[in-house]
Homo-oligomer: 76 residues x 2
């Protein structure tokens, strides 16, 4: 089975990488870009039957820093 | 309007970051993790009515390195 984990910085946490992208898009003439947030997506190829709770444990322990990041699990 | 762009390394392109995550998960006792690919997700806050073609242009010119990365646009 496959699962996809999206890890984004929590609202209110400064995102300098996203801010740099927003600024670069503006400088390249792309108008109307009001905000950019950049995060990670991690695609996992897992043994069949791996529970979502197990994937959440992977997120809590390794994939996301839950102090500043939130994560969302999507099983495919 | 909001759009989300997923940028992943193309198949066949070595992904050392994903490989490191796979290895770390195994070392932490998470069995059955056969493969990990890590990519970026970019959430854009755009002026209403921005066309998908315009977003694709942002991807081609800045957000993705299309030599080694593929991208997928999702409008929300």
């Amino acid at each position: 089975m496959k699962a996809r984990v999206h890890v984004m910085l929590k609202d209110g946490v400064l995102d300098p990488q996203g801010e740099a992208v927003r600024h670069a898009l503006g400088a390249m003439g792309f108008d109307g870009v009001d905000g950019v947030r950049q995060g990670k997506v991690i695609e996992l190829d897992l043994a069949d039957g791996t529970s979502e709770a197990r994937i959440a444990e992977m997120c809590e322990r390794l994939l996301a820093n839950t102090v500043i990041e939130s994560y969302r699990i999507e099983t495919l």
